[in-house]
Amino acid sequence: MSVIVYTENWDGKFKKLSYELVSYAVKLAEMLQTQAIALSIGDVDDQELKTLGRYGIGRIIQLDRGPLSHFDSQAYARLIADTASKENANVLIMANNNAGKSLAPRVSVRLKAALASGVNQLPVSLQPFLVSKRVFSGNAFAQMELKTDTRILTLAQNSFDLAENPADPVIERSVASLEAPPSGTRVLDIQKQSGKTLLTDAEIVVSGGRGMKTPDNWAPLVELAELLGGATACSRPVSDEGWRPHEEHTGQTGKIIAPNLYFAIGISGATQHLAGISSSKYIVAINSDKDAPIFEAAQYGIVGDASKVLPALVEAVKKMKS
């Protein structure tokens, strides 16, 4: 019996999401009266692995990359499934991000284990094993029963609080072994922008819609995001028009995020937009139309012209900072 948590790394480093996953796994293991084990694949040093111990993990299985040259979902899924079987996992936890979404379904098939994706809290009940998950793009939640003995959960980012609980983890290091590494995919080119806060990682997001009027009006919005250490986002028409890059589009057909604070500036609050942001802890709306539906989703608001309110907000934040 065990709870296994797959902790992905980014160039050998973990991030807050990794610690959220570990906090969740440790808590769930406690409920199930078993131990939590972290599984890490790739090039991660002991010092970095030990940081997982801050959140109560007692054992870490580290598989060095070996024959794997790049992330390949087929190969990684095999390694994760093999480890889960060897350790007799009752529950396997992964992130509901790009990697987790491509791995969890494959592992589910390999282990014939029921999968619930995008959970944002601990199971509602252990027997039967019931979790609550977001459905209909946030318009409802469903209680889903996972009917197999091994279950897989993918956890939504920024939905579970970190729980410090220092432990000194045992690290078991070995080289990933695959009989015949799958070679179906080959990387030709990688383009990465560095230094910017990722939209999916950001705790504060400042987002603009068509009410921003023209792409030239974005400077104060970007400044506000920078001052707050956050990321910028936009509604779909804004990215469709090419005012802002596609990666910034949030909503049903864009990114689904759950920051602590989301500023919706000149965004009407269409259901498709809300689908991507309704799990934000706080939504602040700035809109010239007092009847805009965004105010029904927001906890704080200002009725006003964005081109006037935004610069004033920037000033207010500068004052707060000084």
Partner: protein, 249 residues
Amino acid sequence: MRILVCISHVPDTTTKVKFAENNTRLDQTGIQWVINPWDELSLTRALELKDDAGNGVESVSVAHVGPVSAEPTIRKALAIGADAAFRVDAEPRDAYQVAAQLKKIFETAAFDIILCGIESSDYNGSNVGSMLAEMLDLPSVSAISGLRIENGAIIVTREIDGGKEQLSVEVPFVGIVQKGIAKEPRIASMRGIMQARTKPIQLIEPAPAEPLTAISTFDPPKPRAACKFADPENPAQLIEWLQNEAKVL
């Protein structure tokens, strides 16, 4: 090159979802069903690739798992331009059971590129495409926002954290598609609608797969507190609330 696009049909996103029988199932009255938005974009991209004869795409087919009531959705895909359709006659129950049905289609006819949407906007699972790939023991690439054919080789663009990656993939493979794969969904022309009436929909007997999950109840989201308004002349007030009341700054 043969392309298969898996399509699910979902309530139109502006539909107010309601539940029946003590919130144990979706109330289907008044629901407008549409092709899942990502599947519509996948189909559009597949047809664009076929339009350019240099790509050597012989056919674009669509696959759907569902009862006969879904046929209007399938006809719509045929009207948009798909050449043929497959329908597995089974009530979709969860991602695992649906993937097992789709696998049966692949066993009936061979395809080089199988496209699935990144998620379906009803159960938001993001699972079917990768499950199908694993069942077929095929490579897959998730979150692809670009797909092209270059001298017979398949090149995909996928989104990674903080950037983009280009990969070449051997066929057959499963591509799991997100935004960006095509700009606007293609719409059916009058001629397309006429032609769709005579295009074949091949019926496939369901595979004996059981779902691994079951939904017991649905709950509406928790209502949020009413919005608190700050004076537009005094945005500092808003910052003060965010700092001291919400404690998010």
